[in-house]
């Protein structure tokens, strides 16, 4: 499917949508039905609605329907209001974007219109620092070379400036001509891939040749980017409105469910079944009692011939009486405390990164408890464990190793001398370092040059070259200028053979402006470059150097070059252009063509770049491992570097304490045998106190994941530590999935775009807002500035959240069950007819008010101090194993509620027997007993008390009396004067006191 965009052609009617952006979920008209529909998709809400509807049948309802409808409507209104507010804010921001004024060309003249009126095919003009209103194909810029700079932070989170160029056919058009151009752009139907735009453009006469010119993502300005350092730019709108790349990539991520949520759901289901059982048993008992006993009770006046449905009446009444077993307030309470957990993370000063000015952020507010239950952490290496601050440390040029003594090649006298002596190998090496990249030099007014680089490695190389006097001064379009020892050398950049993770190398083709010679400069991973060496070159020294550097934990890059003949270049260039304008399989075709040029290289040398470990990484990993969390390191780096870093950061121990098991092999058989061997060793030594870890590379992993998944799963269960090197983003995600399938709670942490898939796949995704941009941080549930903050995130925030939710959720059930059990017990003395002991107001207030507010202050509860937890990280095992919320703890709470209900009920009916057994009074005594009890249970269960907790617990307690005394002054209320009467009776207070003490036995 393709889309044809006719440039600047009013007569051509297309039915593509206009540029009205709409991020809103609802309209004014569909809000109510749509929102209700969404809310009622939850089982709990359906349940409450059913109960509320049943209550409308006055024959069966034990209480006023308002006691369920009230809270139900409040709860629905709260979440609907929240939705509406969010949606309204989206609407406002959409409106602002839609009504922003932009310049477009209409009938040959520039016109100022609202952004929402842009149509596909319009030419849009943007000035410096303006936001791009829709996806454009660049046709002209203020710069003579036809380039412009954009900031794409809003799109991919990358903060460096990117260069965008106009298509070759548009080069040289002045702004007058740009108003009039006509043509057609053939582009794919809208998709969300912000890295690809496989299209082509053809301008109509009189504009230049009628040739098809390929378009790539480099020729586009995408919606939400900002134009920087360029006076103006103009382009043709190709995708508009919600069909832009940004609009298409906006999706609602699937909500993540925490282990606790799943457990709570399960327990809710169990309670529901229990409730049904109660209903069936009591319902039948009630019917039996009615037929044997109640008919004799003449004052009840049962009719002898009843309608058939009478048999259902008593069971349904019990259903309604028991409906409060499932607390209506639990969802709201949980939402509240969860958002507080998230806020505490956002607010935490100790996980604020001073260096980069980034506070921690919880983007997903619903999963903090899972942090406390993490069992596996899958971590990226570069930028996550390390700083991703690359520093050029050593190099090996033409067999000579520099920087061996001092550990810093830039200070190596030999190298400095070699530069001063114009040693040809060294100069070539430095030229490749300076040129073979996509770095943009930016000259500040004071004359200093700074570099904007997408890759930290390139940045390090260019900076190192400039320190060694080969300075990349400027890059204007296709021209690059290098200063070397006061000489200026001009190069024309002919082609860039871009880096991809498959190719693992990049190359550029340049021509020396003076001599006209054409060169291919390449750099890449050793295994991607060294095999390309020309026949006969001795590469052994390079291989050795790579090994040596890798053992030091340095990142190595291999640099090479080759001179091209003009004919060879021209021939290849044609193929390259063809591949680049392909609409299908462009990436693959381009890679193939690139390979045709990248061969018989002259290997110049090896660069070694240091990437230091972040502060506190070894300690963090040590502590988290003590707390029972297993670490897997997934990296794209090579095996030896990965192992070195793993040793440095305590991930693995060196012999004899630890042992590394390698899974390798090139063929399926080799891999299978290797895997079998490792598995065997694991099984044998799993009982020994020896730290075992396995190492696997991407190649073997691919075979394993497709063929030997079961064996590998067994290995994954046995092995606490693993190092996977040379893995691709999708393999990272697959590994996460594998661990998830073994029922482990996984946390993935990474910093770059290649970690996004694993972060999204894991139960918890943590992104480090690092130098590689914010892509990972955006996709993640939590973003932090440094790896070491993970310790606090898990041990403090995760653990507290788990403990607090465990208490809150079980308590919510406990208090609902308590009141329900009292009702059930009362039914045994009221002829099993389903009379409610409590009045509607009390029941409603008990559930949504008296018992909900005090327990919310559990968000402030700290069972152990933060210091104690970090000193004894083993304590986390309790959370991991789910010791605080599981069927047996829940059974404990269940039993507790039954016991408490029996105590309250028995004491009440004995203390208020005979002449005192007035319904309203007795009901209020039982309710007060429950309220007293709640205050003490919450007090007993909390470990620390701030004044807010005191206020909530005892303020609520006082509020109970104030409210009920107020209600007791209303003559029409059922409980008129009741509370005053009770408060005057000494026996009331004595009864309360004894109920409390008995409950604690």
């Amino acid at each position: 499917m393709k889309r044809f965009v006719y440039i600047n052609d009013e007569s051509y009617q297309n039915d593509y949508c206009d540029n009205q952006i709409s991020n809103t979920k609802y309209t004014l008209w569909n809000f109510l039905p749509k929102n209700l529909w969404e809310q009622f998709r939850r089982f709990m809400n359906q349940y409450f609605l059913l109960i509320a509807c049943l209550q409308l049948w006055s024959l069966i309802t034990p209480v006023n329907p308002a006691s369920t409808w009230g809270p139900l409507i409040v709860i629905f209104a709260v979440s609907a209001t929240k939705e509406a507010w969010d949606d309204y804010n989206r609407y406002i921001s959409d409106k602002q974007a839609n009504e922003k004024k932009v310049w477009i060309v209409k009938n040959g003249a520039r016109k100022h219109i609202q952004a929402q009126d842009i149509r596909v095919g319009n030419i849009v003009w943007i000035r410096e620092n303006e936001e791009v209103p829709c996806d454009l194909v660049l046709t002209g810029t203020s710069e003579p070379q036809g380039i412009c700079h954009v900031e794409t932070a809003a799109l991919d989170g990358e903060i460096d400036l990117k260069t965008r160029v106009i298509p070759t056919t548009c080069i040289g058009l002045d702004s007058e001509q740009l108003h009039k151009i006509k043509g057609v752009i053939e582009c794919p139907i809208p998709d969300k891939d912000i890295r690809r735009f496989d299209a082509n453009i053809r301008l109509f006469p009189p504009f230049i040749d009628n040739d098809i010119c390929p378009l790539t993502i480099n020729n586009t300005l995408l919606q939400s980017c900002y134009l920087r350092n360029t006076e103006w730019a103009c382009g043709v709108a190709v995708y508009t409105g919600n069909e832009t790349k940004l609009g298409m990539s906006r999706g609602v991520p699937e909500p993540k469910l925490t282990a606790m949520d799943a457990m709570i759901d399960k327990l809710t289901g169990a309670i529901f079944l229990f409730q049904l059982a109660v209903v069936v048993v009591l319902g039948s008992a009630g019917n039996v009692w009615k037929d044997t006993e109640a008919r004799k009770q003449w004052y009840v006046k049962y009719d002898d011939d009843e309608p058939w449905y009478q048999i259902l009446v008593i069971p349904l009444r019990f259903e309604l009486l028991c409906s409060i077993m499932i607390p209506i307030s639990i969802k709201v309470s949980l939402d509240f405390v969860k958002s507080m957990y998230a806020k505490f993370i956002d607010w935490d000063e100790e996980i604020y990164d001073q260096e980069t000015d980034t506070p921690a952020h919880a983007a997903n507010t619903a999963i903090s408890e899972d942090l406390g239950q993490v069992e596996y952490i899958l971590t990226d290496k570069t930028g996550t464990l390390t700083e991703n601050k690359m520093i050029f440390r050593r190099c090996c040029i033409a067999g000579t190793l520099y920087g061996n003594e001092s550990g810093d090649a830039l200070k190596d006298i030999e190298l400095l001398n070699a530069v001063a002596d114009n040693s040809p190998h060294v100069i070539k090496f430095l030229t490749v370092m300076a040129l073979c990249n996509t770095v943009i030099p930016i000259k500040s007014p004071s004359g200093t040059i700074s570099y904007k680089a997408q890759s930290q490695d390139e940045d390090a190389l260019v900076n190192a070259a400039s320190n060694l006097h080969v300075v990349l001064v400027s890059k204007n379009g296709n021209n690059a200028e290098i200063h070397f020892n006061r000489r200026v050398i001009q190069y024309e950049i002919l082609d860039i053979l871009e880096f991809t993770s498959d190719r693992k190398r990049m190359s550029i083709v340049i021509s020396d402006s003076q001599s006209g010679k054409i060169f291919l400069l390449s750099k890449g991973a050793d295994e991607a470059i060294l095999p390309l060496a020309y026949c006969g070159q001795q590469i052994k020294t390079f291989v050795d150097a790579v090994d040596k550097y890798a053992q030091l934990g340095l990142r190595t890059l291999c640099l090479g070059w080759r001179e091209l003949s003009l004919e060879e270049y021209l021939e290849w260039s044609r193929l390259f252009k063809e591949a680049n304008s392909a609409l299908v399989d462009r990436e693959w075709k381009v890679a193939e063509v690139c390979q045709k040029l990248e061969h018989t290289l002259d290997i110049l040398g090896i660069s070694a770049i240091e990437d230091r470990l972040q502060d506190g990484v070894p300690e963090t990993i040590e502590i988290l491992r003590q707390s029972g969390i297993n670490f897997w390191m997934l990296t794209g780096d090579k095996q030896s570097t990965a192992i070195q870093i793993a040793l440095l950061c305590n991930l693995i121990s060196s012999e004899p304490k630890g042992q590394l098991l390698y899974i390798n092999g090139k063929t399926e058989d080799e891999v299978a045998r290797s895997l079998e061997r490792v598995l065997l060793t694991m099984r044998i030594t799993s009982s020994e106190p020896k730290e075992l870890a396995f190492v696997v590379d991407g190649w073997a992993l691919e075979i394993i994941l497709t063929r030997y998944k079961e064996a590998f799963t067994e290995l994954a269960v046995l092995s606490k530590t693993a190092i996977c090197c040379r893995v691709t983003p999708s393999q990272k995600a697959q590994l996460v999935k594998l661990l998830k399938s073994c029922d482990y709670r996984t946390l993935a942490i990474g910093d770059g775009g290649n970690d996004v898939r694993m972060i999204q796949q894991a139960h918890i995704g943590v992104g480090i807002s690092g130098r590689e941009g914010l892509q990972a941080a955006r996709a993640a549930d939590y973003s932090i500035g440094k790896f070491r903050f993970l310790k606090r995130l898990i041990l403090v925030h995760g653990r507290y959240s788990y403990n607090r939710t465990a208490f809150l959720s079980q308590y919510s059930f406990y208090k609902s069950l308590l009141i329900c059990f009292i009702q059930i017990l009362f039914s045994f003395v009221s002829g099993i007819a389903g009379t409610s002991l409590f009045n509607s107001v009390s029941l409603m207030a008990y559930n949504v008010f008296y018992t909900s507010i005090p327990v919310l202050t559990t968000v402030l509860d700290k069972d152990l101090s933060e210091k104690t937890v970090t000193q004894n990280p083993e304590i986390l095992l309790y959370c991991q194993a789910g010791r605080l919320l599981n069927p047996s703890t829940f059974a404990g709470w269940f039993g507790r509620s039954l016991y408490h209900a029996i105590v309250v009920f028995l004491i009440t009916i004995h203390a208020y027997a005979n002449e005192k057994s007035e319904m309203e009074e007795l009901s209020m005594v039982a309710l007060s007993g429950s309220i007293w009890l709640q205050a003490f249970v919450v007090t007993l269960e909390m470990s620390s008390f701030t004044f807010l907790q005191f206020l909530a617990i005892w303020g609520n307690f006082a509020a109970f009396y104030v409210i009920n005394l107020c209600i007791s002054t209303i003559p029409t209320a059922g409980m008129y004067t009741i509370m005053f009467r009770l408060c005057r009776q000494p026996s009331y207070w004595i009864t309360m006191l004894v109920s409390i003490t008995i409950m604690f036995f």
Binding site: D357, P359, G834, A911, E915, M919, E920, G974, I990
Partner: protein
């Protein structure tokens, strides 16, 4: 730009410090140390035992005479037939000997057993708005609330309607002490709040007990409901199937070994459902009527607390354990076992 200015700009995103946001609010952290636990239990015991004893003695001081009369007052074998026969002579004389002196006012209760005033069908069959005022707004709601005893056969509304009013208790008692008749004061037996606010002084019984079936007692058509105190007392429904309701008060004192004669008009039908009836005479004290339960509960709880406190003391002396010793942590224990 000053240095400090650039610094504050560099930390623009730093979270604002407050004790609340950092979860550092000062908190008290009560530790249940052996001392506190022992102290708390002892304290509870020391407080509870006296309260319990006081309640018990108050309860013991109360003189309570219960005379069940439903069996003895019907000599006929067909008890239901007898009670439903409106022409039969229902009078019945009971004699009670007073064991201890009773100080006036002596409360006279009638006690019903196995009578479910709290049955769902029964407890809701009343209309408060009809009782309160003769000018109520919604006759339909009244009729609905009083179902199944809202109207007479011809469809006219009953006042007061509903099962509760319809089943009004109608046994009467006449007392004489030592053959000398004693008046029973039936004034102010109902709650003042009920008389003033719940039962209207302009509401008079209409069509009451005129339906096909006659339930319990009848009412004086000339008296407003606010003065029909027996009805008001009856309509304060009991929460338990065994209950007592105030019948009246005897204001005079009664000496020990005095003989009380009660002449009972045994009208009320508890025979069809096996309920019992009794007349109760009781003095009152600060804990209300005679009720040993609270006193026993207090003494028991206090006693158990003292026992537990002593038990803890013994445990603490015999096998003391240092507070906060990390060696007791489960993982440390396991490690210790592992090393052995």
């Amino acid at each position: 730009m000053s240095v400090s200015g650039s610094e504050s700009a560099a930390s623009a995103n730093k979270p604002k410090y407050s004790k609340f946001t950092q979860q550092e609010l000062p908190a008290c952290k009560p530790l249940l140390t052996p001392g506190i636990v022992i102290g708390a239990f002892s304290l509870i015991g020391i407080i509870f035992v006296p309260i319990g004893l006081a309640s018990l003695s108050a309860s013991q001081e109360i003189v309570e005479l219960i005379d069940r009369y439903d069996e003895e007052c019907v000599t006929a074998s067909d008890k239901i037939g007898f009670i439903q026969d409106s022409k039969a002579n229902k009078a019945c004389t009971r004699k009670i000997t007073v064991p201890k002196p009773m100080k006036g006012p002596i409360h006279v209760y009638y006690q019903l057993e196995n009578f479910y005033q709290n049955h769902r069908r029964y407890v809701q069959s009343r209309s408060d708005q009809q009782l309160r005022d003769k000018d109520y707004k919604d006759p339909k709601a009244v009729a609905k609330a009083c179902d199944p005893e809202a109207t007479t056969g011809d469809g006219s509304l009953i006042v007061p309607c509903g099962l509760i009013a319809w089943s009004l208790f109608n046994d009467t008692y006449a007392f004489s002490v030592n053959k000398k008749s004693v008046t029973v004061n039936k004034k102010d037996i109902a709650w003042a709040s009920d008389k003033n606010s719940k039962f209207g002084s302009n509401v008079f019984p209409v069509n009451f007990q005129k339906g096909g079936l006659i339930g319990g007692g009848n009412l004086n058509d000339k008296l407003p409901l606010s003065e029909q105190e027996d009805l008001i007392v009856w309509m304060r429904t009991a929460a338990l199937p065994t209950f007592r309701k105030l019948y009246g008060r005897i204001e005079t004192d009664i000496m020990a070994s005095d003989e009380i004669t009660v002449v009972i008009q045994n009208n009320y039908n508890t025979y069809s459902f096996g309920g019992t009836k009794a007349v109760v005479l009781s003095t009152a004290s600060w804990i209300g009527g005679k009720n040993n339960f609270i006193g026993v509960a207090y003494v028991a709880v206090g006693g158990i607390c003292l026992l537990l406190a002593m038990g803890f003391v013994v445990l603490y002396v015999v096998k003391p354990r240092a507070l906060g010793d990390p060696a007791y942590l489960s993982w440390n224990k396991e490690a210790a076992e592992y090393s052995h």
